[in-house]
Symmetry: C4
């Protein structure tokens, strides 16, 4: 689906990820925008994720020769152009036609990993055929149907996904107030009350009219086709009884790198290492699961201390700017996962919107490196974070 | 009084207690809404009660088998479905026809205690005949007329109220700015200036037109029928000279469990134990009495430390969400009393509105338990509260 | 000047001092309201004065016999009904016809001291003949014309003023941004641009049309009649070279109690004691002098510690509510001076407005005492201030 | 260019620098106003610069003889009327015709140093011929073309610039979101979309229509004439590879006083002393370079401690009021550089606007001195900063 030149000009004028969010807000039907944008309960954690980044200060050194600098980083063996990973975003295909494929292509072009959500419209096989040159990760939820789950993991491996990312923070679905208020359900259909609003979203309507609304990875699975809401889907298919033993079994079954995503407690990071995880991702699911969980940046340091360099630590939640990426690394992270940051771009303009999001973040990260007086992210440490006159 | 299907749909769309508050705001005449919603003075404590909950963070553990979890708790020997008690709310019958009875039924159906206020439109006898299967508590103020007070206590016992809850923080009425500005007085009548507003509250007007405006428990008591405002009622009937000796006498007179409500100072909690109380309720009367009192959640920990497990500690003030309930328990409470949280539901849609409030809180509490990685409230402790990197 | 019954009803509906402020805002021409309401520079200190009170929490005890309680206090030997003093307010006569006399009568009726400003429209002789039974204080600025100053002090004594209150924080006038923006000058006259606004202030215009605009205490003093702005008046008449020696001389010249007003530093409080002052008033001139000075409540404790009970400590700045008065006393003050709190009442409805302000504060103070579980202000101490879980 | 009497009256009504900002906002085309007003990224540092000043409290002493007081200070040997320096502001000539010359004259008249930016419309020769009696500084960026840079330094010396101020915090241009959104580019031309807005900026349009848009100091330099944006200019001409060695060479080449501007880290201040700098300026480039850098006032104390009086420390960023100047000095600064504070005045009314900005700051600084109980800035120390009850 081509993007008009007018739209392209708008993309160029986006100075920041928050500008892309505004474009997404104008293009998506409100219930869908709220689904992407919102969080659990009163959205305290959602706001805190961003606020925790904003509270930190970066203390620069000048003059330093920063003429030869790079944002390149190795992420689980992959040589990435910058310390970013496209996080698994459920139903990304709803945001733009062929959304998952577009995002995967944009990631591949930008040379960063793309992580496909279990809850994607496109299946592992479909994304596996796209974006051939890219680094593909697959995100997995614990499923009640363990046989299907094991098969899905095998399908992902067979489709070229190199890294498995297991999300542990979704035993049940978080209560997202906006979704309840909007009566968010799939497929998304205008009601009498919202018809006028949908009429201003023609661009989106045209885009999705021709595509199937389904979860590719569950095609053929009993009970998978008759859910209408996310909570319903989770309750019927996902397994709230999973434990570290289940993770340990997955560890054995999966030969590639395995990331445990959703770690908030230092002790859970240690457990992850014990079962043989190759990395942990500090995450509160973007403030969408447990209400009033701490900001990820507020617990990152404790987790990184517990991990003590044995495996890489990733972090997500509130990453919107290049300086956020540098702060996360200064506190011990190897890379950041970005969810909404690319989803807003995807909703705004498909693959080109994701590309724009990544080019903004690349430029911001590069500029921030130079202005911090640093030539690579490897030099970053807590000394770059200013902590008041007492430090 | 039946609730229309349109109204029922609105209730279903309520994602949170704050949504029910909005429905209440639209249905009640402003002076009555303000009476329920407002607090003393500049309402600092009113806001702080909610803010103190919002400041606390919950640190989750994953993955934990939470497939078999329960919110059930024993409250003074009663097997409750969740750690909630409907707090005494004065004049609840003004909010909806047969308001106290409706709330009592909703509590009984939800299997949590209902506490009737002294200042109810319905008398202890009327509520005693309703809601037979429910757990009934009676809230008592110190009355100048001690003979009437003693008789009222006996009437409550005879009507099946099992627990006596004595409120100690109302020697005089707090100065509630909204009520003074509104000239709030009973019976509530439109003035020339407010006639138009009342005309938009037909639903409420129709509901209360047929019911008597009175305080059931004071029927027959001299001076009880000619007050028009709350402060006037308190000044004429309530006793500002009561001391711990009076509580000690009540303790002897009442054979069932006795709760002392309005404790803010750890030393008062100790006194309550000394006179033989079965529980204390940390309360600042929902921010309606002493201006600038601390938030209840800010003093709960000190009170719980002083009590040291000898008797249960309850807490109210600002409880609006399931995570609030878990936080209170993590800090040492056994259960929370909710006042406005159910009153807004009652005002919105009577018994069904209270039921909706309780179903929201039940779902939120259950979800929060699961997402915290806990299978019962008994497992909660201060370790689930995150207190910054230093912890 | 009589107040209409409609206006009287409005006064009755005022629940707080802030409501009186709103009435004042509607009755006064904007430049005059801003003169009373505003502060120096960006008004940080003005806001902080109120915020510092709001930050403190009062921890109550229940049940306590508070049936016999009193707010009465001795202020420099005067048996006051409550711990309040009407602070010196310059140009109070501009707010309402015979404003100083009206305020003095209201203070006398309420049995609290009234302090006349040097910069009053009425002279010491005029106020001395009014309000015979009341407690009168006279506020003095250091004047360049020392002979006039000494004579003024004698005139005050001869007119029955019992206490001299010397303001030390006005060597030069603070820069009050609102006054500069408004081009505030006396006499206040509508301009082409403000004519429409003044037309909505007929009540005020009618009231002041018949009165002379002048400073009574400077009548006959050379240069005193041709100033148009406050800063100009200060620069031409007030003395920026005054030191503690001048205060010491005043101390010798004045036989009655002497209060040093404007103390912010503990060492200045000690100097005041050394020269024989009978009291100090912690004051930042209501946030009207030094920009970004600390809130008075933030330094009160340090000053009170330095004074260590040798003389009474008063405080002003941000006192708007009964709980503010109790907090000040709990931190070591004997009484509070109120400026804007009564000036807004005066501007709203003259003497009756001041009376309303005082009745609001009396009721709030009395209610707060009862709800704190205290029967007199003498019982108040820092233990009534809650300082977080660590206390 | 003469300023109308109406405009002069408006200038007189400006009570503060923020009022001048408002005049500037009304006179400048939005993209140009935003260029001056805005900062990097989400503008956290921009806001923090001002907020850090507002957080500090000044504790006054009274009564003190302040009748003979002065704000005069020696700045690198120059006897200045007050501790202020007009900071280098790029493209100041765009704000008002002959902007740099007007600002230089206003500075000379006010007896404070004027620092010309490398990026000025006027060249060093043009400003050198103006403002003969004034103290002139020249600000230098590291240029890729070292020959041109060395020649420029010689031209500045030959034109009478006495002090060289080397900016070290611009290895690359900061990403300023407003500029990107506005598509800010030079020359500034209305688009179809902004034509209406530009039509309301006739005063500005008339003023700049007759002047050349160019950078005087780069005239004749290859590549210097075909840039359209600031980031482009920086990328093509400025040198990101400069180090302390380059500064050391400049130190040798320049015989007059040398200031290193852009120091944020105490260790960089020490390096500056080692290479022989005569002063350092604590600066984050007004929040325009590194996003989320600390406020300058938050690091000033650490830098001043490291410098330990060996050389003067200047500071800029957020200086808007006289009390800000005193606070900076109390924390160890010798003088403040002001950028936006004078640029807004320049944009509002040219030289007269700068003069108004300086007269406001002079009056505010003088008043604050008097009200702090201090007769010269030399007396200021950390003891004048109040730091809470613990101090």
């Amino acid at each position: 689906m081509p993007v008009s030149s007018k739209h392209r000009a708008r993309l160029e004028r986006c100075a920041s990820i928050s500008d892309l969010r505004e474009l997404a807000r104008r293009r998506l039907p409100r219930p869908l925008f709220d689904f992407v944008d919102g969080g659990a309960g009163a959205e305290v954690t959602l706001r805190e994720n961003e606020a925790a980044f904003a509270r930190l200060r970066l203390l620069p050194r000048y003059p330093v020769d920063v003429s030869r600098r790079t944002t390149r980083t190795t992420i689980l063996g992959y040589n990435a152009s910058m310390p970013l990973i496209l996080a698994p975003v459920g139903f990304a295909g709803l945001l733009f036609p062929d959304g998952e494929a577009g995002a995967a292509r944009a990631a591949a072009n930008a040379e960063i990993p793309f992580c496909l959500s279990t809850n994607s419209l496109a299946s592992v096989e479909e994304i596996g055929t796209h974006a051939e040159s890219g680094e593909r990760w697959f995100q997995l939820y614990f499923l009640k149907d363990r046989a299907w789950m094991q098969a899905l993991v095998q399908r992902a491996a067979a489709s070229g996904f190199r890294v498995l990312c297991v999300t542990i923070d979704l035993p049940v679905a978080g209560r997202r107030a906006r979704d309840i208020r909007n009566g968010f359900a799939l497929p998304l259909r205008p009601t009498l009350k919202t018809a006028l609003h949908f009429a201003t979203r023609l661009d989106w309507l045209r885009g999705v009219a021709g595509q199937r609304l389904r979860i590719g990875n569950f095609e053929g699975l009993a009970k998978s086709s008759n859910f209408t809401g996310v909570a319903e889907l989770v309750a019927s298919l996902f397994d709230p009884s999973a434990t570290w033993d289940d993770l340990a079994q997955l560890r054995v079954a999966w030969r590639g790198p395995l990331v445990v995503k959703g770690v908030m407690h230092p002790k859970d990071a240690e457990r992850a290492i014990e079962i043989g995880a190759d990395a942990v991702a500090v995450s509160n699911h973007g403030g969408r699961q447990l209400e009033d969980a701490p900001a990820t940046m507020d617990v990152l340091s404790d987790v990184a201390t517990a991990v003590n360099g044995r495996i890489p630590v990733f972090v997500d939640g509130g990453v919107r700017r290049g300086v956020d990426v540098l702060k996360a690394i200064a506190l011990g992270a190897t890379a950041c996962l970005i969810g909404r940051a690319f989803a807003w771009g995807l909703a705004a303009a498909g693959e080109q919107g994701v590309a724009r999001a990544l080019s903004i973040l690349a430029a911001e990260t590069d500029t921030a490196l130079a202005l911090l007086g640093v030539t690579s992210t490897a030099e970053l440490s807590e000394q770059h974070l200013w902590r008041g006159a007492a430090s």
